[in-house]
């Protein structure tokens, strides 16, 4: 392994600009003549718009234009789309209402977009927005996930019972049979709490229009600028793709929330032509809370059947998923194909049946948030497994070991074909790291100090890559989920790689360069990674679903294969040898069995000067591209163990130990991978202990700032003990499985299993705040006293 090659903890190439304040985020971009947009948002969760009077506002200082849904409609600008079709149990398509970028006659959640004011300064735009008079007729709000389907109030006429779809997966009869044969059935009611992604950089957009060329440019906080261009062109109708450039520069975190195509960027790029000036919008944090797509929000009843020996026989799950007021870009896929196919977890479960009802409510749209469906599935599986072990009087580690899948490939009853893994190895390693043997003593020590100590396990699996394209297409995806790469070798052997993946914290500029450095034998400093601009990178699908390593880097790998193959042809001419006799290793093309060789840079120069070969037989130049579509999803898996200590007097839960053992397949940069695990765990701990978006009965978001919504801070978290096991992934050439979401998927059940272990009962919901834990601890104390 070289110091900068695959497997090395290379320090990040992108860091210099970030630590010196030279990063270039969307809000850092200012175009000549730029003006500012401010969105007037609905203060009501559900209301008919009877009239909008903009006359007074239009005369305010600095105002350039005020636009409403009627203006978008007049320009034939289409609504926002949901790109994944789900079918009901009866085969009919899901029932989706329209999603206009600016409201058409009705508002459906607090924060819904009513009008946009474009003014010389942001302050002037805000002042003018206050002078817009909107005549609302308020309607009752539907807020609660569990009861939305039965509500009298209808949010979209297209969905008369507020139900987007009734979907199911699995074999209901086989599951009924399994439950009839069971000696024990565990039943749980679970709520997966609603979260706000809260990337630290708020969403932003700058729209620009070049009247001479007729070309729009949109700078936007996007995880997938090409998908944004596709949707804005093909569906919303801003401009054809060749007349629309989308640039996602440095992006300050995404976690899913920046995958989607939102109203604000749509309006900014459209309005740039309308007002003839570049138009900029940046969300403040409360706007982010109100209008970024939220995550999770499931209400679930789940049951697990086991036989007399403790073998799992079957699982049935009934979930209601809240999709909010409109269907966001990939919302329908999250509680369906990213959820139910993961319900087998790491376990050999012969029969699974899952029903999902997706409902509209008068709340912000809900879509993918770090893990997207897989944390929800893992929470169901790992809570069921843990509670079953407790009810059967079995050690939770041993019960898991007993039911792990051991032979691969393994076909689950819910679509997935697990290719490889070694779940027992991860569990064994995690047990050592957490010192499971010493737990009894630690529990006794805590008890002596008046504290409650508990341990919680989570054996998670995820399906990453979200490909092959044909497979996801058959499940309803409107796009293919391959990735592209282009490797441009310059005449002196430096390299630019253009990738369709997008880095917003993942460190692609380093890890992708490590791959190139490793394979071409050139200095990592001679490799530049270019992403995030549709004028530079031809097409790409972007970064989400932990897919950039497994899919994005595999595309680069394929393109590098082609570069090396072309280089061999060039070298054969230069070295006057047969192409078949040329080897490439350590940065040199060499003639087998001789000392004749040509370094990579010299070969590149020869390819461009083209003096040594006939340009009709071999094309000059050295530039190759590839599209890569995997043969299967990837299946990262691992075990996280959390140990907590609860102070029953205050209800404060301290995480005392955290052991994570993940199998991500081969690892390019362990430093970056560990960082991804740390961050994922923190978000999962946030879900379990601190975070929860709350709407009141009127549909007002009462957690709409960092003063109301508890983000994990440094003193809420411990340092994490992170280890790895490796079974290389067989479905891509690098053996990578993906690591971006694992921590967030694994950690919530680990925390809740630890808390319930400490409390001695299962009655705690997320977030397990000090108040909730204090109440639950009192219950424990009262029971113990009664006994």
């Amino acid at each position: 392994m070289s110091a900068t090659g695959i497997g090395a903890a290379v320090r990040r190439k992108e860091d210099h600009r970030f630590i010196t304040g030279q990063g270039r985020y969307t809000d850092d971009i200012n175009r000549p003549g730029q003006v500012h947009a401010y969105f007037l948002r609905s203060p009501h969760a559900h209301a008919i718009i009877k009239a909008i009077d903009t006359e007074a506002a239009a005369g305010m200082p600095g105002v350039i234009g005020i636009f409403t849904g009627a203006d978008l409609a007049a320009d034939k600008i289409g609504g926002l789309i949901c790109g994944w079709m789900i079918h009901n149990k009866d085969g009919t398509p899901m029932r989706a209402g329209p999603h206009p970028a600016l409201a058409q006659g009705k508002v459906r959640y607090v924060g819904d977009h009513v009008a946009v004011v474009v003014a010389e300064t942001l302050a002037e735009a805000k002042d003018a927005a206050e002078a817009i008079a909107v005549d609302y007729e308020e309607l009752p709000a539907v807020v609660d996930t569990g009861t939305a389907a039965g509500a009298k109030t209808v949010i979209h006429d297209e969905a008369p019972d507020n139900t987007v779809f009734n979907w199911h997966l699995g074999d209901r009869e086989a599951v009924e049979k399994a439950f009839r044969a069971a000696s024990h059935v565990t039943k749980l009611d679970l709520v997966n709490n609603r979260l706000v992604p809260n990337a630290m950089e708020p969403r932003a957009a700058v729209g620009d229009y070049d009247a001479g060329e007729g070309v729009f440019t949109l700078y936007t906080t996007s995880q997938n600028p090409h998908v944004a261009r596709l949707v804005l062109s093909a569906f919303i109708g801003i401009a054809p793709e060749n007349k629309l450039r989308v640039i996602a520069p440095d992006v300050g975190g995404g976690f899913g929330s920046k995958i989607f195509i939102y109203a604000e960027e749509t309006v900014c790029v459209w309005a740039a032509k309308k007002v003839g000036r570049p138009v900029k919008w940046t969300a403040d944090r409360t706007e982010a809370f109100l209008s970024d797509a939220h995550g999770r929000d499931h209400v679930t009843h789940a049951e697990l059947a086991t036989d007399a020996e403790g073998r799992i026989l079957g699982m049935r799950v009934k979930t209601t998923a809240n999709l909010g007021a409109y269907l966001s870009t990939f919302s329908s896929s999250v509680p369906t194909y990213l959820y139910a196919p993961l319900l087998s977890g790491q376990y050999d479960i012969p029969a699974i049946y899952c029903e999902v009802d997706a409902v509209y409510t008068n709340t912000a749209p809900v879509d993918a948030y770090r893990g997207a469906g897989r944390p929800e599935a893992t929470f169901v599986v790992e809570r069921l497994i843990e509670v079953t072990a407790r009810q059967l009087g079995k050690d939770p580690a041993r019960f898991r070991m007993q039911n792990y899948i051991r032979r691969f490939p393994h076909q689950t009853p819910v679509i997935m074909m697990y290719d490889t893994g070694n779940y027992g190895a991860s569990l064994k390693k995690a047990l050592e790291m957490i010192d499971y043997k010493g737990l009894g003593k630690r529990k006794r020590d805590s008890a002596r100090a008046g504290k409650l100590r508990g341990i919680g396990f989570s054996s998670y699996i995820e399906a990453c890559g979200i490909a092959p394209s044909a497979a996801v297409g058959s499940l309803g995806a409107g796009v293919g989920l391959w990735e592209s790469a282009e490797v441009r070798v310059n005449p002196i052997g430096t390299v630019e790689v253009l990738t369709g993946s997008h880095s917003h914290g993942q460190g692609h500029e380093t890890t992708f360069a490590q791959l190139v450095s490793d394979r071409l034998g050139i200095s990592i400093d001679n490799v530049s990674i270019i992403h995030g601009d549709t004028d530079k990178v031809q097409m790409g699908m972007g970064t989400y679903g932990s897919r950039s390593g497994a899919v994005g880097m595999s595309a680069i790998f394929k393109a590098l294969d082609k570069v090396i193959a072309k280089g061999k042809k060039v070298a054969a001419h230069v070295l006057e040898a047969d192409e078949a006799d040329i080897d490439f290793a350590d940065g040199h093309f060499a003639v087998k069995g001789t000392d004749r060789k040509l370094d990579f840079g010299s070969c590149a120069l020869q390819a461009y000067v083209a003096h040594k070969f006939n340009g009709q037989e071999l094309e000059p130049g050295l530039k190759e591209g590839a599209f890569y579509d995997p043969t299967n999803f990837t299946f990262p898996a691992g075990v996280h163990i959390c140990e907590v200590e609860i102070d029953p007097q205050t209800g404060v839960t301290r995480i005392e130990r955290w052991a994570a053992v993940d199998d991500f397949g081969n690892v390019i940069n362990p430093m970056i991978v560990e960082g991804q695990v740390h961050g994922g765990i923190a978000q999962g701990v946030g879900q379990a202990l601190l975070e929860g978006a709350r709407y009141n009965a009127d549909g007002q978001l009462v957690t709409a700032s960092f003063m109301d919504y508890t983000m994990p801070r440094a003193d809420d978290l411990p340092s994490f003990d992170v280890g790895m096991t490796v079974t290389p992934c067989p479905s891509n050439p690098l053996g990578i499985k993906g690591c971006g979401e694992a921590g967030a998927i694994a950690s919530p059940p680990a925390v809740i299993n630890a808390i319930t272990d400490a409390l001695g009962h299962e009655e705690i919901a997320m977030p397990a705040t000090p108040q909730a834990v204090w109440r639950a601890a009192r219950k424990s104390m009262n029971r113990m006293a009664a006994e």
């Binding site: 320090r11 990040r12 992108e14 860091d15 210099h16 600009r17 970030f18 630590i19 010196t20 304040g21 030279q22 990063g23 270039r24 985020y25 809000d27 850092d28 200012n30 302050a123 809260n198 990337a199 630290m200 950089e201 708020p202 440095d250 992006v251 300050g252 975190g253 976690f255 940046t282 403040d284 944090r285 409360t286 917003h504 914290g505 993942q506 460190g507 430093m671 970056i672 560990e674 960082g675 740390h678 961050g679 994922g680 765990i681 923190a682 978000q683 700032s705 960092f706 003063m707 983000m711 994990p712 801070r713 440094a714 003193d715 978290l717 340092s719 994490f720 921590g743």
Partner: protein
């Protein structure tokens, strides 16, 4: 409009501004010093931390006119020419950043922490003292390591506890 005069990263600056201009707006929009970020507008996240006369402040809730005559150091003013400040170097070495958005505020808060609490900082001290800065990417694990190492490095470098620019 009101006239405000500041020393920013050692350079004297005078400008006529709308009195409601926040310090962060003045830095980002008037001076184009975009390294200082706005993450929450409510003093909660710390992405906007700069040093005002040598002490960390949240520039998103500070009016520019209120600090007329003061000296401001931003992330752009922390390095000495090409030589990174030891705390910047420590964040890179220990992978204390991912998306980079909170990083300028984190580094400015970290330097302030060392100024207040010395070069030998244990994990508990760092975690408690960092409660005014939010990071969504790193889980803080590597930020804590970076600050401990950066604090030690500042001591070894014999860096004065206050930066020259201040």
């Amino acid at each position: 409009m009101t006239t405000v005069s500041l020393t920013v990263n050692g350079r004297a600056v005078t400008a006529a501004i709308d009195p409601r201009t926040l310090l962060v707006q003045f830095l980002r929009e008037n001076l184009r010093l975009t390294g200082t970020h706005v993450g929450c507008d409510t003093s909660q996240c710390g992405a906007c931390v700069v040093h005002l006369d040598g002490k960390a402040v949240k520039s998103c809730t500070t009016l520019a006119v209120a600090v007329d005559g003061s000296s401001v150091t931003t992330i752009e003013g922390l390095a000495s020419g090409d030589a990174l400040h030891p705390m910047q170097e420590a964040f890179r070495e220990h992978h204390g950043l991912q998306c980079g958005f909170c990083t300028p505020g984190m580094i400015m808060s970290a330097v302030d922490m060392v100024n207040r609490r010395g070069h030998h900082l244990d994990e508990k001290t760092i975690r408690e003292d960092l409660d005014g800065n939010i990071c969504r990417c790193t889980g803080y694990h590597n930020i804590v390591k970076a600050i401990a190492a950066g604090a030690e490095a500042m001591g070894r470098a014999g860096a004065p506890l206050r930066q020259a620019a201040e």
